[in-house]
């Protein structure tokens, strides 16, 4: 063809074409990519709100006065100049527990959300967010999201669903709740992942009159909680990083964890002001790499290292004697030594103390000092270095810095080593010991209790604690559990310990996230054990697949919640809002229920619980309804707006005044700003004068003190001593031998430690699969392995390895790196999502299609058919999925390891064999024998000292310890005759079997 005819053909084609090809991005149900209206208005120069970050940076935000009507150019259309008109509605991120502020840009005409940015007036996040915040937009416009209430048809897990109305779902579920509640008070269970709110749902559960709260705490923070609680009564640390001189982390807080974004900014702030950052982690995390000192401790050796540092402070006298004398229960400790309850290992000193005349005077503190010296002298730097396999100079350097911290030691552990190891609660206890010795408790730059830095306002009426005790959550074997033994629920059900009538999983995927997931599969499938399973979730999950109802609940910008977190030394509350609803109301449109404003019929839990509770008790005869009647319209059911209106008007000091100063009601104020700072600073509240008849005496004054039996910080725990744990390694800060102690791992035999629970900064546990940006950043979880181990087993990066655990094995690729300690392998805990049906379940681009098989003897096999694939949807990005590897679901192969005290699942796994994969092995293969699961469970259960044998007062649990929704005191009593799981009959009041200090 000549050029001329070629060009003629081209010109003809162009003359005849239809030039108006416009594609719509909406699906059949009107849900699709957001569309925005253009406006003739032009952005006007406005004085921007400038936030000066303490690290020297500045950010600019639209000024608050303009939030209701903000015009800006659409950046995506640049260089075209198209202006958009938005309403900026504050809300709170729902993608971790930090409760950072978000600002939604809602188009005033189409009501679609353009983006989520930071809320500059939020005191915790201060306008900044991590990747998970803006990714709320992905979740909102996720093409695979669940838009309508679904009800199972066919068998559980078969994957057949029909759409129902909210009214149908509400009345059916409410009827079953009513029926259960009429029979018993432990038949309804609310199982929550990360709550993302403070107290709202707990109040509902209490109102139903059941002991029905279940959480994820025991796969997360139970051991840290127990460690802190034994000292102080509070169960969570709140380090003041920004003002610290030394920051000691047993975690990777610069990149993940509670509370990643707010803490990371303050850690850097502290560092820039000269603080030294010390990190203990067998893995070179981003945090470790930013540290002044990295201690790659062998898992389980952390307590020994911490006590070596404590010993250094004690032996050199470089600890805060005044603080310890005033605030530690040293008098009680010396009495325990006198009574032989605590063995010093120094008979002469023990006899000398026994000869003292009690009560003791201040001058007798010298004996406590000597006792400490005697107790801890064996914890030398050399011993710690050997156990931890860390150069001794590094430990000495850490000790020197801590000795010089001048009451400003910000220390933190939440999961990491405390949740990893058997006895991990002693890690937290030993860590806090350093706060105590340096006097860094609640000080500027020190470590506070979470309650001092968090504010939870009271609602209009609070139901009393339940008149029941849920044996499936707090079984008799675990009187110190912090808290519910949630991850053993399927094992308890398997043993026939009980059943559940109505089981709500709320934004929670127990089968995927818990260890031993096939045990969950068995439980969730069994309709005689879990009679009704209602999954409240914004997204599909492996667990929702086995539900009877799947009820779509909103993401961060689609729901009401009130939240506060101890991000720093102040106090604030933040208000999560359904941003489209708020925008509609501001524009004068009436909205009765949030699902009218959200995509499809996505609802929010707050309103759902109100309506459900009202239907559970229509005539008020159960005593439920009254808790859901409006404080403003007697006898009528409350609205969600009234609920928060009452709190803001009555329970938040300073809020009504601040609102009035702007001519707003308190509710309008919170709708406008989304946040209120209650206190700027709150240091050493325990030093405040106590109310008459309360508190504790210190140097002749009544002080608020601590919520422990002694009112002081408890070095020696009388409680543990009395409840059957009299040995020294329990009653005072002392190392407990971890299940992965060096003695228990024989590397030469192919054994290794699997560190399975580190997080990636850009992922949201099991909700990342609905955030395309986050999955594009990280989607696979290869096995980290040290080059020396890789060489030993003959693998290189990219090869497949088979990791055999106590109950099964999995196959994954390996990543050879010096960023992990020899003998330890590590895997991120988020990834390895799967689905059983090609077109339903977890997003095709973020999960593998899997085949699941089981034999008649309880053995399960999961194989990937194929990995992630691009798929067609209204969002063109779903056709651009370029990755295939979505990781391996390792948790299925984890045996349960309930710590006999804290009840924590000790995440570290003994990998009994790690080797190059067999020829037939394929990436993603998982095989588990649930008989072995039950066997390992029983081995760990045997470590417990059950309340029915050891309780000193006939109660199931020490009354002073925290517990979610504490039952009324009468229900703490042990049953008259409890069947002991060890085959012995229980006693009405059990006597401690170990009557004497056993050392």
């Amino acid at each position: 063809m000549t050029d001329q005819s070629k060009i003629n053909r081209l010109l003809s084609a162009l003359l005849s074409r239809n030039s108006d090809v416009r594609r719509t991005s909406k699906g059949e149900d009107g849900f699709g990519l957001p569309e925005f209206a253009s406006t003739d208005l032009k952005p006007e120069p406005a004085p921007m709100t400038i936030v000066h970050h303490p690290d020297g940076r500045m950010s600019q935000y639209p000024p608050v006065e303009k939030w209701d009507d903000w015009v800006e150019w659409d950046g995506k259309l640049w260089p075209q100049r198209v202006a958009r008109r938005y309403m900026l509605i504050p809300t709170v991120c729902f993608n971790c527990e930090s409760a950072c502020g978000l600002l939604a840009y809602v188009d005033r005409e189409t009501l679609e959300v353009k983006k989520f940015e930071g809320n500059p007036v939020h005191p915790g996040s201060r306008g900044r967010n991590c990747a998970k915040g803006p990714a709320t937009h992905n979740q909102t416009y996720d093409p695979e999201r669940i838009l309508y209430p679904l009800k199972r048809v066919g068998k559980r897990g078969e994957g057949k669903w029909k759409r129902v109305t909210w009214e149908e779902a509400l009345s059916d579920i409410a009827a079953q709740m009513r029926e259960s509640r009429l029979k018993r008070r432990d038949g309804i269970v609310y199982h929550v992942g990360r709550p993302g709110e403070d107290g709202y749902t707990n109040r509902c559960i209490a109102a139903w009159g059941v002991d029905g709260h279940n959480s994820h705490t025991n796969i997360c923070s139970a051991s840290a909680r127990l460690g802190y609680a034994l000292w102080s009564g509070f169960d969570r640390p709140s380090p003041d990083h920004a003002n610290a001189r030394v920051i000691l982390l047993i975690s990777s807080h610069l990149e993940t964890g509670h509370y990643f974004n707010p803490h990371a900014q303050r850690i850097i702030e502290g560092k820039m002001a000269g603080a030294k950052l010390i990190t203990m982690d067998p893995r070179l995390s981003n945090t470790a790499s930013m540290s002044d000192l990295w201690l790659p401790t062998w898992p389980g050796s952390e307590t020994t290292v911490l006590l070596a540092i404590a010993n250094y402070l004690i032996q050199t006298g470089r600890y805060d004697r005044r603080f310890v004398r005033r605030w530690v229960n040293w008098r009680e400790t010396l009495a325990a030594i006198r009574d032989g309850k605590l063995n010093l290992g120094d008979p002469a000193l023990q006899a000398e103390i026994a000869g003292l005349s009690f009560p003791l005077g201040d001058e007798d503190f010298a004996y406590f000092d000597r006792a400490l010296k005697a107790l801890y002298q064996e914890f030398t730097f050399e011993r710690a270095a050997e156990e931890a396999q860390v150069p001794v100079e590094r430990i000495r350097q850490a000790a020197e810095w801590i000795a010089d911290c001048d009451g400003r030691l910000a220390a933190h552990v939440w999961r990491a080593a405390s949740i990893g190891n058997l006895g991990g609660w002693q890690v937290a206890r030993a860590l806090f010991f350093l706060n105590v010795l340096t006097g860094s408790v609640g000080t500027r730059g020190g470590t506070s209790g979470n309650e001092w830095n968090k504010f939870v306002p009271k609602p209009f009426a609070s139901p009393p604690g339940p008149e029941a005790w849920n044996e499936l959550h707090f079984p008799i074997e675990y009187p110190f559990a912090h808290y519910e033994m949630s991850f053993l629920l399927p094992h308890f059900l398997e043993e026939g310990r009980g059943s559940i009538d109505v089981y709500f999983t709320r934004v929670y995927n127990p089968m995927w996230i818990n260890p031993d997931g096939f045990m969950w599969l068995k439980a969730l499938r069994d309709e005689s054990k879990i009679k009704l399973h209602v999954a409240l979730t914004p997204t599909w999950s492996e667990s929702a697949w086995f539900a009877d109802y799947v009820l779509p609940m909103g993401h961060g910008g689609e729901r009401h919640d009130l939240m506060s977190q101890e991000t720093h030394a102040g106090q604030w509350i933040a208000f999560r809002q359904p941003v489209r609803r708020v925008a509609m109301e501001k524009l004068g449109r009436k909205v009765r229920y949030t699902y009218e404003a959200n995509p499809g019929e996505v609802w929010e839990e707050n309103e759902f619980w109100i309506e459900l509770s009202a239907r559970m008790d229509p005539d008020g005869s159960l005593g439920v309804r009254k808790w859901f009647e409006s404080p403003y319209r007697p006898g009528e059911i409350i609205t969600v707006e009234e609920y928060y209106r009452w709190i803001f008007e009555n329970s938040v000091p300073g809020l009504p005044e601040a609102a009035a100063a702007e001519g707003l009601t308190p509710l309008q104020y919170m709708r406008k700003y989304g946040v209120f700072e209650v206190k700027r600073e709150n240091y050493t509240p325990y030093e405040k004068p106590a109310l008459a008849g309360k508190g504790v005496e210190v140097d002749g004054e009544r002080k608020v003190g601590f919520e422990t039996p002694s009112g002081k910080l408890e070095f020696f725990s009388e409680t543990l001593y009395n409840w059957g744990w009299p040995e020294r390694e329990y009653t005072i800060p002392w190392p407990l031998k971890s299940h992965v102690h060096l003695d228990n791992i024989d590397v030469q035999k192919g054994e290794m430690v699997l560190l399975p629970n580190f997080r990636l900064p850009t992922l949201i546990h099991t909700r990342s699969a609905n955030a395309k940006w986050l999955y594009e950043i990280s989607h696979k979880n290869p096995v980290w392995m040290h080059p020396s181990d890789a060489e030993r087993i003959g693998v290189k990066t990219g090869d497949l390895v088979r990791v055999t655990t106590e109950i099964g094995y999995f196959v994954d690729t390996v990543w050879v790196t010096e960023g992990i300690k020899p003998g330890v392998i590590a895997m991120s805990h988020h990834l390895g999502r799967w689905r059983l049906q090609e077109d339903l379940g977890v997003n095709p681009g973020m999960s593998a299609l899997a085949r699941l098989e089981e034999d008649e003897e309880g053995r399960f096999k999961l194989n990937y058919i194929h990995g992630a694939r691009p798929w067609k949807s209204f969002d063109p990005d779903t056709e651009r999925i370029w990755w295939e590897d979505v990781g391996v679901h390792q948790n299925l192969t984890h045996a349960v390891h309930p710590d006999p005290l804290s009840g924590a699942h000790c995440w570290l796994q003994k990998a009994v064999n790690v080797r190059k994969a067999d020829p037939g092995d394929r990436h993603g293969d998982v095989w588990v024998d649930t008989n072995r699961s039950m066997q390992v469970y029983r081995e760990w259960l045997a470590l417990t000292r059950p309340a029915n044998r050891f309780s000193p007062d006939g109660n199931r649990r020490p009354l002073w310890l925290k517990r979610p929704l504490k039952p009324q005191v009468a229900y703490y009593k042990l049953p008259k005759v409890a069947i002991s799981r060890n085959g012995q009959d229980g006693h009405e009041v059990a006597q401690p079997v170990i009557a004497k200090a056993g050392q």
Binding site: R17, V21, W882
Partner: protein
Amino acid sequence: MFTPHQAAQAYAHAFDLFARLYRHGLTPTLVTEAAQIPDLAAVAPQPYDADEAAAAFHTLFAMNVFPYQSVFLDPDGLLGGGETDRVRAIYRRMGFVVDEANEPADHLAHELDALAFLCQAEAEAWEDERWDMAARAQQLQANFLDEHLLRWLPALVAAVQRQEEPFYAGLAELTLALAAERRRSLGPGQLRVLSVRNEEIPLALRSRLNGAGDALNLALADELPAQRVERLLANPQTDLDAIAAFLLTPAYSGLYLSRRDIGRLGRAAEAPHGFGERRQMLRTFLRSAAEFDRFGAALAGLRNLVEDTAWMLRRWGSETVSLSTVQPWLERLSATRRLLETLEAMSPSASEAVKL
């Protein structure tokens, strides 16, 4: 086969579509439009993947071949110089408003847009029966093609042919054919009514080859290519850097060397070519070739490029555009050939090149 009105309209569409393709690459919207053009549909990637397409576009026009008139015609070989100013000046005269927020005025997409604008103006003039306006719009098109687009388009198209991007190779050839056909359809002879007068052009008196190749500093704008090469060879200061600078300036050498071209030369000659900007790559290549006894092979590779390019240009000169359009490029190339031959004769490893 078309009325003048229809032709003007069709050319407006075509230049507009091509401009968008050069501006955005093969985006999901444009792929459906391009599919209507059989010659483009034939070379469009199958299956289409938006990310791949975006990456290919970026690799080609942001990393390898820079589609600006100044890069090809300015003795600086740099953006924003005299050539860009000349383009701006003619846009002003024809009333075309260029948005330089993204790209300077002499980007290929803008030049095609300018033609689309003129064709559209012509079509509207036919509709309004304003023959004088239509004629003027035609004159402006012919003038713009002669003075600007067609002066550099052949060299750009030749450069794109080597970049292993079938779609853009096809698009570029079609663009050349389109521009040439438009020029042909406007009739022969001098239509210029509005030539930019020479004195308005801030000519390349400040010619400085990117600060390198001092031997070329005295280059005169109106020097013939052959003379320039002689002067370069006679200058005792001429070194490998000066040679590299010469070769990298299409206005002198007639060649356009992309990163990919230099990488390919390096691999063929088995000499390291380094990485970084083109000048850096070519210098590294020539120096290491000289150092490691691969200079002959390097020169042979460059000779092949010269011959391939000349062959392509000659073919277009007989089939697509007028011979006078490609003639200046052929002259530059033959000067370069002379340079390479001289160097080859001087090189001790010349015999080795024969083996390649």
